[in-house]
Amino acid sequence: MSDEKVVGIVLVSHSAEVAASVAELAKGLAGGAPAVPVATAGGVEGGGLGTSAELICAAAASVDRGAGIAVLTDLGSAVLTVKTLIAEGDELPDGTRLVDAPFVEGAVAAVVTAAAGADLDAVEAAATEAYGYRKV
């Protein structure tokens, strides 16, 4: 698998700690995860809970390998900010997609799938399917 082909993953949470921990968890559970570029945009610049458009743009730029980027978010302003940046067109790399998925389970599925060399459609499908995993 060439490094140029791999899908990038961006994890956006209201909390820097949540984003970093979910990234660590997803990479830890995925074989071949070192090849997957995963970046986080947690909280607002300078600390504190919230969403930072600047951190999201920087994270997306850092994982862009030309094969698309799957962005997973937690809730509220994280979702709306990513949607807005994508709608504005020139803020995020080409092929950046907001993936509709549960944050933790979706992140694990996305990183595992990307590590297997899958394309962006397959990464998105795997992350979205995580909604179907019933715990009870």
Partner: protein
């Protein structure tokens, strides 16, 4: 006709009223939100004022596009992308005309509000900023004073509603009885149009 100076005065009036009302907005956001609406908007509109001083865009459309970008970048909460989308869509709809009519502004603002509804998925009656913005845009044909009154009435009318969008929706029936902070700040933004027309805010 409304020129770039009018739109600068509008943004200045909005900044001044957000600063003046920040504590009230945050107090409204305490029982049904996360108690940061006033401080978030204050940070956003302060960035708008700074950016407009530094970059000095020359058309109404460019002023609103720049202001919207600042709100998306700096607010940190859901009101950032929502107000940012409102101003950017309105600005883009105005194009690069050096002056626009009140009717053109009303049409552009309608496009902006449509953009907000598409982004957030909220409809009138969901207890959101839409409940102030839609009546304001509907009344804009009758002038800025009518738009201000309609937005304020719309904000007050959110009090008995149950929230169906955003953080407040988790509260279910407990959101009833509280005026929506987003509708309240939207009424401030719309009131700024009347202040700008009167020459204030600049």
């Amino acid at each position: 006709m409304l020129d770039a100076d009018f739109f600068r005065r509008w943004m200045a009036a909005a900044t001044a009223s957000v600063n003046r009302e920040a504590e009230r907005l945050t107090a409204l956001d305490s029982p049904i939100g996360d108690a940061d609406h006033g401080s978030n908007l204050q940070r956003g509109f302060t960035a708008v004022a700074t950016a407009l001083e530094k970059e000095a865009p020359e058309t109404p459309g460019a002023i609103l596009v720049l202001a919207g970008r600042q709100l998306i970048s700096t607010v940190g909460g859901a009101s950032g992308p929502l107000y940012g989308t409102l101003l950017r869509r309105t600005g883009k709809a105005l194009g690069d005309a050096p002056e626009v009519s009140e009717a053109q502004l009303a049409e552009a603002l309608r496009a902006g509000v449509d953009g907000v509804m598409a982004l957030g998925g909220a409809a009138p009656g969901d207890k959101t900023m839409i409940d102030a913005l839609v009546p304001a845009v509907d009344a804009l044909g009758d002038g800025f004073a009518a738009a201000r009154a309609a937005a304020e009435e719309g904000a007050v009318a959110t009090t008995p509603l149950q929230a169906r969008k955003g953080r407040a929706s988790y509260l279910g029936a407990r959101s009833i009885g509280h005026q929506d902070p987003g509708a309240t700040s939207s009424a401030l933004l719309i009131a700024g149009l009347e202040e700008a027309a009167a020459g204030a805010g600049g």
